[in-house]
Symmetry: C2
Subunit: 341 residues, 2 copies
Amino acid sequence: MKGAVLYGERDIRFEDRPDPTITKPTDAILRLSATCICGSDLWPYRGIQAIAQPTPMGHEYCGIVEEVGKEVKSIKRGQFVVGSFATSDNTCAICRHGYQSSCVHREFMSAAQSPYLRVPLADGTLVATSDLPTKDLIPSLLATSDVLGTGWFAADAANVKPGSSVAVVGDGAVGLLGVLSAKQMGAERIIAMSRHASRQKLAREFGATDIVSERGDEGVARIKQLTKGIGADSVLECVGTQESMMQAIQSIRPGGYVGYVGVPHGVSLNLETMFYSHVHLHGGPAPVRRYLPELIKLVLAGKINPGKVFDLILPLDQVAEGYRAMDERRAIKTLLRTNEA
Amino acid sequence: MKGAVLYGERDIRFEDRPDPTITKPTDAILRLSATCICGSDLWPYRGIQAIAQPTPMGHEYCGIVEEVGKEVKSIKRGQFVVGSFATSDNTCAICRHGYQSSCVHREFMSAAQSPYLRVPLADGTLVATSDLPTKDLIPSLLATSDVLGTGWFAADAANVKPGSSVAVVGDGAVGLLGVLSAKQMGAERIIAMSRHASRQKLAREFGATDIVSERGDEGVARIKQLTKGIGADSVLECVGTQESMMQAIQSIRPGGYVGYVGVPHGVSLNLETMFYSHVHLHGGPAPVRRYLPELIKLVLAGKINPGKVFDLILPLDQVAEGYRAMDERRAIKTLLRTNEA
């Protein structure tokens, strides 16, 4: 088969790769229905995060089970499944606390930007639907695998409740789906921080009640104006830079909650500032497996349509163009069709 | 009257000070039943926190109301009251969220190491008992004003619930009362990190099930041994240094909660470390006013005896010796008797 491999800064190649095979009895092999490019893929693509060697890319996936290892019990050949970007046994003490993305057997997935994929710990990582979904639902089901699960975790970590006031820092796909998640959780006011017309539009579709284009102190002042002068109950940090994190912490009311899911790059926090802000801080790699059953159900019931974040759809062999479009912010998120690869 | 004033490093003087008077119609004047020295007083006493000028010290207090300003409604002359170290109107939007120590009208109290004290915002800061308490209850009631309220907030911020496993970093008075608080909240396992026999003994009296004297990586390893190999559900950070904060974060299980109340001095956190630890982090100046009614009730009912942390009792005019004893760790916490001053 052919798959996407990153060789260095802005050097994605679509090249021959070995077909994946069962290597452990807990593995499954999937024929992917679709895959996509993650905002976090841009860190190594841009050279900000070093890679030691040519690296097969991609960690968001859904598809049909082709084969399972001998110890796989709940996942069957022929089923449609979605899995998390982090594998989990879903039975260890950490998984039982709901932190499957810190499972003692966790591996971060890669090599999903290809037509076939090996998934370790299939029973604990994958969730199957009872029927094969219709084609129109594939983008939204694919979204649950990471980008929606991550936005959902940001909202959950930020303690969004019915009636909450919420601000979202970052208008990438995760931030936009953070807006959708906050709406589903009953937030009353949802402020999207965005300067891009197309993203502002999608934020409004997903439930944003207000758009703030200012940043820094002006952005904080605007958010306070919109939240009774004291700041938001919940802020979702969906970027991962020092600036975005400080924007989030300063926009919160005393005693409010920041949920952060942007992978931090060089972010350092002064604990004294946080102490006097009374902020609650929680985040990390989203425990998507915890949320998958519920998110899949919402998609199948037609209650949410997170697949709208894919504003560029390309055949898998044009993966390099997909990266370029996201790098240049011409696209929010690129879906890659595997059926033509 | 005479009160304690800090002039510089390790230079506490007991000297003439003006009697406090009502300066705003929302003030009250108290005749203190007792006062004490706080662990946080040691930061400026040791010269680690600079002072701009000679500073009247003390912020923990309880006593009899001598006089109230014209706008004070709920607090009456002759009542016994306890107040928080942070004043609050207890009506603003931030107070209504339970963060009275971030009240829009907050002032941090000082000058309580004296026989009389002016308390601003009396209605929102003080809590009165229905009867005058007996003398033996004064130390425990005094403790609710800050040291117990702070330990309680640490446990609450660390999400201690029935059945929780809890570790406490810091064996000062706040840490010891964090142990007591965790016990009251139903924690099953309470691990006190301490190297001092007298403090270990008091920790056990307050409910500690285990003592860990190791620190750093060895301390982390011991805590993991005691918590099913994954770390504690809740850690109370009651010191405020880089080392103690890292001890707390590394001792938590993925998805666990660190409640931090040690005033941070030069503590900086790498967000990437925190991201992959999945820690919940919350802390700050304790919103004691939120907890005061409940804590006073527990003391009056004889259910808790936090006054045991006072292992040195001196007349107020020996305040300088009280500081020395705590600085040299000869005393956990010094109570100052005002009736002889």
